[in-house]
């Protein structure tokens, strides 16, 4: 059985009707572009609207991107809040190109994208998504092994430093936050901030920042 029961409004049809209802199951991935790290509160959200808001010259700053997956390619521009929304079936894979950077997007086959946030591997995954890469110079893939070592500790300290009160962080750093649209565990980007280098507060902030 499905984890959740969706509510749907539909038509009854008259006897001679050619009308129909259509339900399309198409889980979508919403990707928000934000300036990171640091606090950039706009309209109560940490998601930066600079990308879609008019610039000083009055020009909209929607960003063009290219999304390509098997048998499908399109060029679009970011939408509200700089959002990119992609269709990708479970287990699917595609390439997103934005700002001349290629991002390989892979969707987990079972819909689970992250380990639990109270596990070390879950924390490492979130730190990695937020741009605190857990890898040594030259290392291709991040060290998401669930073991707390020197590199993970350094990433946690950097995260805590960026999010301490009053911190603005290097505003020029850009990161991608993936959000599985139909994942009920996803929490919105919270207007909250850890106040100290406390493990619990850091974990909460990671959940808020990177998704559950």
């Amino acid at each position: 059985m499905a984890l959740t029961v969706s509510q749907r409004r539909v038509m009854r049809h008259t006897q001679e009707s050619n009308y129909v209802n259509t339900i399309n199951v198409a889980d979508r991935i919403a990707i928000h572009f934000v300036w990171f790290p640091g606090r950039h509160l706009l309209a109560g959200s940490l998601i930066d609207t600079l990308i879609e808001a008019p610039d000083a010259a009055g020009q909209e700053r929607n960003v063009e991107y290219r999304w390509q997956r098997t048998g499908f390619a399109e060029v679009r521009r970011t939408m509200l809040k700089g959002t990119i929304t992609l269709t990708l079936p479970p287990g699917g894979k595609g390439t997103l190109t934005v700002f001349d950077t290629h991002w390989e997007i892979t969707r987990a086959a079972n819909g689970v994208t992250l380990d639990a946030s109270n596990t070390m591997r879950g924390v490492q995954q979130r730190l990695d998504r937020l741009g605190y890469h857990l890898r040594t110079p030259g290392q291709v893939s991040p060290g998401l092994d669930g073991t707390e070592g020197r590199i993970t500790e350094a990433a946690v300290i950097a995260f805590q430093a960026d999010f301490r009160p009053g911190s603005t962080g290097p505003a020029s750093r850009l990161f991608i936050r993936g959000e599985w649209a139909n994942n009920p565990e996803i929490t919105p980007w919270l207007d909250s901030n850890p106040s100290a280098a406390d493990g619990t507060a850091t974990q909460t902030a990671l959940v808020a920042a990177a998704g559950a």
Binding site: R9, M11, R12, T14, L80
Partner: protein, 263 residues
Amino acid sequence: MPENAPNADESYVVVEGDCISSLAEAHGLKWQTLWDHNPELKALRKNPNALQPGDVILIPSLRLRYENRPTEQRHKFVRKGVPAKFRLILERFDEPLANKRWVLSVDGEIHSGTTNSKGMLEIALPPEARSGHLVVPEEDLEYDLSFGYLDPSDTISGAQARLENLGFYEGGITGELDDDTREAILMFQTAHGLLATGELDNLTRTELEQRHDLMHSQPAPESNGPPAETPGEDDKLEDVAVNDEEDERRFRQFEQLDGEEEE
């Protein structure tokens, strides 16, 4: 066959869950009779299956009808019902979910079957049915369905419901053109090659109807009924006579069954 003169129409204000079929059933009419009796509403809504709460519909009054039958005999009359239909196309990423087993319970009655090659299921439905529960086990899909709750496509709530069904929106049916709704409209427009405005313009509404409401293989709906005619006086009389014959529910016409009579 004497008849009494028709009384004045009764006005009815549509509420959520109503459609022409359910209102016709509730008032003892055929849906075509009711639909044709409201030409302004017909022109406004076009789709008799999707009315907007607050719409005012005129209900023609019923007329008595007399049937001559021999005395000293027992007669059996059967009221004919006109069921509605429920059609649903199931897709995943725009590909039909063909040949999938489904189970749909409506008011305690269980229907089941297999979707056809277009991913479509179809059942006869009591016009007054309000809710159902659909399960497609193989696809791990489960839906609570609210029959008759789909508003017209040119309303925000109607657009939200269609966008939700098509997988573009999940912000709840609020009737408000908020950011979530605009974004869903933008996504839909972009996905279908429309000018991305975030507004529910005519092209977008039409495309929503095409994508959600209409059978893709059939060019036009026929549920608006036959073109309205403007009969002359004689035609009106004839019309009534024709309706007397065809509209058994409107005039409470009963059918005497052969072989059912008893001395």
